[in-house]
């Protein structure tokens, strides 16, 4: 059900772990499935020097966190804002329909970490809004 890339990132997750004294930490949870994701950012001069994650979740959740961290590593904060769930999914060659919400979790965790960094440093990141407690994303489902 998962693509090769997803399976690869699931089996060999990149950047798994924690950063002590991180510049920003974001933790989000998905009300729908109960899964939880946390991303740690180490930012210097607006550049993401290091990034780590921890995930309690499905295979897609692990793979999207891994991929999301890969995509932002070494990037500027501004570039990191472009790492949406869509970008993550594309980088993974797609996800099953019922797993789209897992990639949203990654986007949200990343933005929550950026928000935390911005707040701590009293700066404003363009386009970034305060993360709300992660809400249910209804999957597209036929109703009868």
């Amino acid at each position: 059900m998962y693509t090769k890339k997803v399976m690869d990132h699931f089996q060999n997750p990149r950047n798994m772990g924690e950063i002590e004294g991180a510049s920003g930490v974001g933790t989000v949870g998905n009300a729908k499935c109960g899964d939880i994701m946390r991303i740690y950012l180490d930012i210097e001069d607006e550049i993401i020097k290091d990034v780590k994650f921890k995930t309690f979740g499905c295979g897609a959740a692990v793979a999207t966190s891994s991929m999301a961290t890969e995509l932002v590593k070494g990037k500027t904060v501004k570039e990191a804002m472009e790492v949406t769930n869509k970008a993550v999914m594309e980088a993974l060659d797609g996800l099953p329909r019922a797993k789209v919400h897992c990639s949203l979790l990654a986007e949200e965790a990343l933005q929550a970490a950026l928000w935390d960094y911005a707040k701590k440093n009293g700066i404003v990141i363009e386009g970034l809004v305060e993360p709300k407690p992660f809400e249910e994303h209804e999957e597209e489902e036929e109703e009868f």
């Binding site: 798994m16 309690f56 295979g59 692990v62």
Partner: protein
């Protein structure tokens, strides 16, 4: 180990070779429609009746009380919807439990939308129904009690005889979903006071797409699938002769080997449970320690999530499941695990191992070693673990 280790027999079983061989002639040679008049089809009618006897025999019923269906799900639907309608004049109240299979639960929910009242009995932390709860739930208007014999996720076996006796004393019909139980533990519809009982072929090494409903003589039950005069006019549709023959053969074999096989599997199961509980921290066994199917073990591992666990096991060639197969596409935690009181996040990290006739002690050892590694690795990834 380089072959698949299949540990999901509660989801489905392979069809035995001898069963397939018994079925084969009915596809290409003896293919006639059993309702036809010519001699060529007469043999098929006989084959069906032989299978019916074998099914009846397995549960202590009379063959006239056995009706073939397309599987356990249809049997459950038929029993519940049929009784609900046939006994409507007597009342509109049905009693079931919170941990039934979706074939029962969704059917009950459908009835609730159509003017029926359903009581969902809670179960205790091991998944057992308290007979007193049943007694208290029965009302003037109760027409049916449907309680599964053994649970498909946690393996808990209900005190069916006692529950059946309560139903009988109250004059209420008693249905049981025995899909996971038939061929695994002894069943006698009379001793257990069962009025209707659902069976499925593919859970006992028979083919998929075939099942049966036992209906005690004298019970009114409208046909659910209307059509030709098959199954004494109670179930329309050309009889699935090869599958019926295979079902009969499989149930015969299952009953014959039941005593020895369930003993053997229970030993493997107990070894597995003991090792896992001892060697993996923050882990619990779900379901009743004693009143459980001989082939079922269900664990919850704190701080980790079920799907990841299953995929990692799969990468080690181990086939297992987290809950019931038919909802593994769903994201909701198992209603059964919630039903026994597990919190969401723990219900999420559960693993069901269901053994079969081919499994060995070596496989258990491989599973245990694999689990130890995988659980540790997933916990390392988990933001919950060190919190």
């Amino acid at each position: 180990m380089n072959k698949k280790i299949y540990l999901d027999h509660a989801a489905t079983t392979p069809t035995k070779k001898v069963v397939v061989e018994a079925m084969l002639p009915y596809f290409t040679e003896k293919f006639g429609n059993p309702s036809s008049i010519y001699e060529f089809s007469g043999q098929n009618k006989e084959a069906i009746e032989e299978a019916r006897e074998l099914v009846a025999h397995a549960i202590g019923a009379n063959e006239r009380e056995i009706f073939f269906t397309s599987g356990g799900t249809e049997s459950d639907n038929w029993a519940i919807l049929g009784i609900a309608e046939n006994y409507k004049s007597k009342g509109n109240h049905i009693i079931t439990t919170t941990i039934e299979h979706h074939a029962v639960l969704h059917t009950c929910e459908y009835l609730e939308k159509n003017g029926y009242e359903v009581t969902y009995l809670e179960v205790d932390k091991d998944g057992r129904v308290n007979p007193n709860d049943l007694k208290e739930a029965i009302k003037e208007t109760t027409i049916l009690i449907s309680i599964m014999l053994a649970n498909n996720e946690i393996g808990t076996v209900q005190p069916i005889e006692e529950l059946g006796a309560i139903a009988k004393a109250a004059g209420v019909l008693f249905h049981t979903d025995a899909v996971q139980a038939v061929g695994h533990i002894p069943i006698d519809v009379n001793a257990m006071h069962i009025d209707l009982l659902s069976i499925s072929g593919h859970k006992l090494y028979g083919p998929k797409g075939i099942g049966a409903l036992y209906v005690r003589k004298g019970i009114k039950l409208r046909s659910f699938i209307h059509g030709g005069g098959q199954e004494k006019k109670r179930r329309g549709g050309t009889e699935n002769v090869p599958a019926i023959v295979g079902f009969g053969k499989a149930i015969e074999l299952a009953i014959t080997s039941m005593e020895a096989e369930s003993k053997r599997q229970a030993e493997l199961r107990d070894y597995l449970i003991e090792q896992v509980l001892e060697r993996i921290p923050h882990c619990r066994l779900n379901g009743h320690r004693e009143y459980r199917l001989p082939n079922n073990a269900n664990f919850s591992f704190e701080f980790i999530e079920g799907e990841s666990l299953l995929i990692m096991l799969d990468m080690k060639d181990i086939c297992a499941s987290s809950g019931s197969a038919c909802t593994s596409g769903s994201l909701d935690p198992s209603h059964v695990l919630l039903g026994i009181g597990l919190p969401h996040e723990i219900a999420h990290g559960s693993l069901r191992i269901s053994l079969g006739e081919q499994n060995t002690k070596e496989e258990m050892d491989y599973l245990i070693e694999s689990l130890i590694v995988i659980v540790a690795r997933l916990r390392e990834m988990s933001p919950l673990y060190e919190d």
